[in-house]
């Protein structure tokens, strides 16, 4: 071994040329036209999935471990045998929403997934149990929000309301004055407006005439 004490050579870090460019937190190159960071927005995703054991935990688990912010999650069968629809309300910046869709699409039981437009039809169901001391007033508020009384007794009254998120929020506020004892909300579920497909490639079917699973083009 000769020429001892060689080693790595070259200019020190600060003496090297460095470009001025930058990327933002989403890895987007910051040029003057597109400087802004993306703000989170609330949106509804709908997925058609194979209705097999564990599908909900796969979807929820994926969201949890990738730190996607899920506001609500509903699931139920569709008219196609063996399929279920998962409706998810998420709040993320655009690149995040894109990621959730793509990551979910990779799950084996996910057949197709899409984001709903703003004009989608959305609804939620809530059960409210309030104190029964003022039944007339409770009844009046229930009527006002097109709700139904499901159970009434001397101590409690339980009503059911459906509607979009705002209506439900308003109604819950209105019932507060009676003293809400318990509340159960289902979270939003939604379908695309009019003849539009809720999920790309989704084929209509009625019970008894199941369609084949739609191959995923993801």
């Amino acid at each position: 071994m000769s020429d001892s004490q060689r080693g790595l050579q070259g200019p020190a870090p600060e003496e090297r040329p460095h470009p001025d460019g930058r990327r933002n937190a989403q890895g987007i190159r910051i040029d003057p036209e597109a400087e802004s960071e993306h703000e989170p927005r609330r949106t509804v995703l709908s997925a058609i999935v194979e209705h097999e054991p564990g599908v909900l935990s796969r979807v929820a688990g994926l969201a949890a471990r990738r730190q996607f912010n899920i506001e609500s999650l509903t699931v139920g069968p569709t008219t196609v045998d063996g399929h279920a629809r998962i409706t998810m309300v998420v709040e993320e910046p655009d690149p995040g929403i894109d990621q959730i869709e793509k990551q979910l699409a990779k799950l084996k039981p996910v057949i197709s997934i899409g984001e709903l437009d703003d004009d989608a039809v959305r609804a939620e169901l809530v059960l409210l149990k309030v104190r029964g001391e003022e039944p007339d007033k409770v009844h009046a508020i229930t009527e006002m929000y097109d709700g139904q009384t499901l159970d009434a007794g001397p101590e409690t009254i339980t009503v059911q309301l459906t509607g979009d998120e705002h209506k439900i929020d308003d109604a819950v506020d209105a019932f507060r004055r009676f003293g809400i004892i318990e509340i159960a909300r289902t979270g939003q579920t939604a379908l695309a407006h009019g003849a539009k497909k809720t999920v790309p490639g989704e084929e209509p079917a009625t019970s008894g005439e199941p369609t084949k699973p739609t191959p995923n083009t993801k």
């Binding site: 004490q5 050579q9 070259g10 870090p13 040329p17 989403q26 994926l62 191959p215």
Partner: protein, 585 residues
């Protein structure tokens, strides 16, 4: 998948010639074995146990070579490495509960590195699931986050098809590990149903043919670049796209950097190859990444060990990102020009679409100049202590060009990646994404069994990494596997010591390893051969003798405990600001 031919396997030694070699499907477990045979599986790694016994019993009559490992972690790493070298998914087996949980590290490792692998686990009988039965673990629950998909087998009639599907899914599109959990009643249950040809589920068919508009946009972006740079990731290797990728680089005279899993995608002695970029990548690769105006990234997930801080990663570059997994597009680094599809196919299409090569002569010269400005070198004093980099170079020189190198995790891994010159894909087998100490030896076993007999397999290991799975030496001895383990023994968990010195004011808490055993003696105790090397003079002979020995050999190189890995991009730092010495950190 792979053009390489598999090693012909010894028939099960307990099988006499007049016994049937083909399993008849009579039960769930025979259906499982038939599915493996249909898939062309010739080797499987595992450990016996109660809940997996029916599967092993079915293997008794099969030609599939089963290699009993000392620990299930060894089985999953061996299967992983087998898949990397061979091209088809490696297979591992374990019993329920502790067997399955011991596989977990190897499954997670394969998942991070997109390595195709099939794990089969035994499970308690279906009617006992959920009762906390003896050796019960919710294996599908535990492995859901670290598999491409996992299956809970429900019936002997369908279990064969499930295994076939799982095997196919592991290799389909972006590769990854899959798992089938096999309750004992399903394995033992009667069936005569022959499993059909295994194919990946309809819902997991990736788009392999890239979109016209995407191809066109990418081609235009590359044509007009002045400082184009190709970044080859592990996807180029695992997508078998190296030939097309190399041709594209040379035809258009575009410099190439690789990621660490992408090592070997471009010959490292090629004039256009700048070696690998990232935390301990070469200075020139990191300079090129920092200054490129068009980064053409193929089959990479932009891991933070590659990118450093996102804000300063390729800050001037329009990013063309070719990947078979749409979810990788813009996950970490925004892709200005995404191309979703098979890597080789996408490169071909972009190439065909290009009407001119980018005019990048000056840039190519600049990249060359950087290789002279920041050469890879280490301080080599006249005498001891022995430098680990020297050992790696000596091993590289003493072995054939296409030697397969596996490694543990730590400084030695970085030195192996830095100072070994890789020329071909599937020759560098390491734990990248998960960074699993103990990967090296079981990986060498898997690689050895996947490789041709005349190929050389070397494991460059750390003292601490080696101790984590040292028991697998017993397997190498039993199977008489020609493997040379080179321990770069610094009596530290060296990478940790390096960080403590740099970022924790030298408080070397729990970093010492001076009590590590005499590895040469331990090797001999296992039935392998062992050497201890303390000086430069002893290096050539020890290497020569170890390589000449037909069986597992271990050389314990006592190297300079003070040596550190440079260059280094500090975590979250700018690639262009790599430090060449500790005081530049």
């Amino acid at each position: 998948m792979s053009e390489r031919t598999a090693t012909t396997t010894d028939p099960n030694p307990t099988t006499t010639p007049d016994e049937p070699t083909e399993t008849e499907v009579t039960s769930g477990s025979t259906a499982v074995v038939r599915a493996l045979e249909n898939a062309g599986v010739d080797t499987a790694f595992g450990v016996q146990g109660g809940a997996i016994m029916p599967i092993y019993d079915a293997l008794y009559h099969s030609d599939i070579r089963h290699v009993t490992m000392a620990h299930e972690q060894g089985a999953s790493h061996a299967a992983d490495a087998y898949g990397v070298v061979h091209g088809d998914p490696g297979v591992c087996l374990a019993t329920s509960g502790p067997g399955a949980t011991n596989l977990v590290t190897g499954i997670a490792d394969a998942n991070m590195d997109s390595d195709a692998m099939l794990a089969l686990t035994g499970q308690v009988p279906s009617d006992m699931v959920g009762s906390d039965a003896f050796q019960e673990t919710d294996t599908t629950g535990v492995t859901a986050p670290i598999t491409k998909h996992n299956y809970f087998a429900t019936s002997p009639d369908t279990v064969g098809d499930t295994v076939g599907e799982a095997f196919a899914l592991a290799a389909e599109g972006r590769p990854g590990p899959t798992l089938v959990d096999l309750p004992k009643d399903v394995s033992l249950g009667e069936t005569d149903r022959e499993p059909g040809p295994g194919k990946a589920p309809e819902t997991c068919r990736p788009r392999t043919e890239p979109d016209d508009a995407e191809v066109e946009a990418a081609a235009r972006a590359i044509e007009r670049a002045e400082k184009p740079l190709l970044l080859f990731g592990g996807g180029v290797v695992k997508g078998d796209a190296t030939d097309v990728a190399r041709q594209f680089a040379t035809e258009h005279q575009i410099p190439v950097v690789t990621t660490m899993p992408g090592i070997g995608a471009m010959p490292e002695d090629h004039e256009l190859c700048l070696s690998w970029a990232g935390m301990h990548g070469t200075g020139y690769a990191n300079m090129a990444i920092t200054h490129t105006d068009c980064l053409i990234a193929i089959g990479t997930r932009f891991d933070d060990r590659l990118t450093g801080g996102i804000d300063t990663f390729a800050p001037e570059a329009a990013v063309v990102h070719i990947d078979i997994d749409p979810a990788e597009i813009s996950k970490n680094i925004h892709a200005d020009y995404p191309v979703v599809g098979d890597a080789g196919r996408a490169i071909e299409r972009v190439d065909a679409e290009m009407t001119a090569s980018p005019d990048a002569r000056e840039w190519v010269e600049q990249c060359q100049a950087w290789t002279d400005e920041y050469p890879m070198d280490y301080a080599a004093p006249d005498n001891e202590p022995l430098k680990p980099q020297f050992v790696v170079e000596a091993l590289d020189e003493a072995t054939p060009d296409e030697t397969i190198v596996t490694s543990g995790v730590g400084q030695h891994q970085m030195w192996a990646a830095q100072y070994w010159t890789f020329r071909e894909p599937r020759r560098w087998v390491s734990s990248h994404g998960l960074g699993t100490m103990g990967y090296g030896l079981p990986a060498a076993i898997g690689a050895r069994l996947a490789a041709d007999d005349d190929e050389t397999v070397v494991c460059v290991d750390g003292d601490a990494s080696f101790l984590m799975t040292i028991q697998e030496l017993s397997v190498a001895v039993r199977e008489n596997l020609d493997i040379t383990v080179a321990i770069l023994n610094n009596e530290y968990i060296g990478m940790v010591r390096q960080w403590q010195d740099a970022f924790f004011e030298g408080r070397r808490m729990a970093a010492g390893y001076e009590w590590c055993p005499q590895f040469d003696k331990l090797a001999e105790a296992f039935g392998a051969r062992g050497w201890t090397v303390n000086s430069y003079e002893e290096v050539p002979d020890a290497i020569e003798e170890a390589l000449a020995y037909d069986g597992p050999s271990v050389i314990d190189f006592h190297v300079d405990p003070a040596e550190n890995v440079y260059p280094m991009v500090s975590s979250g730092g700018a690639n262009g600001k790599f430090a060449l010495t500790e005081d530049q950190l």
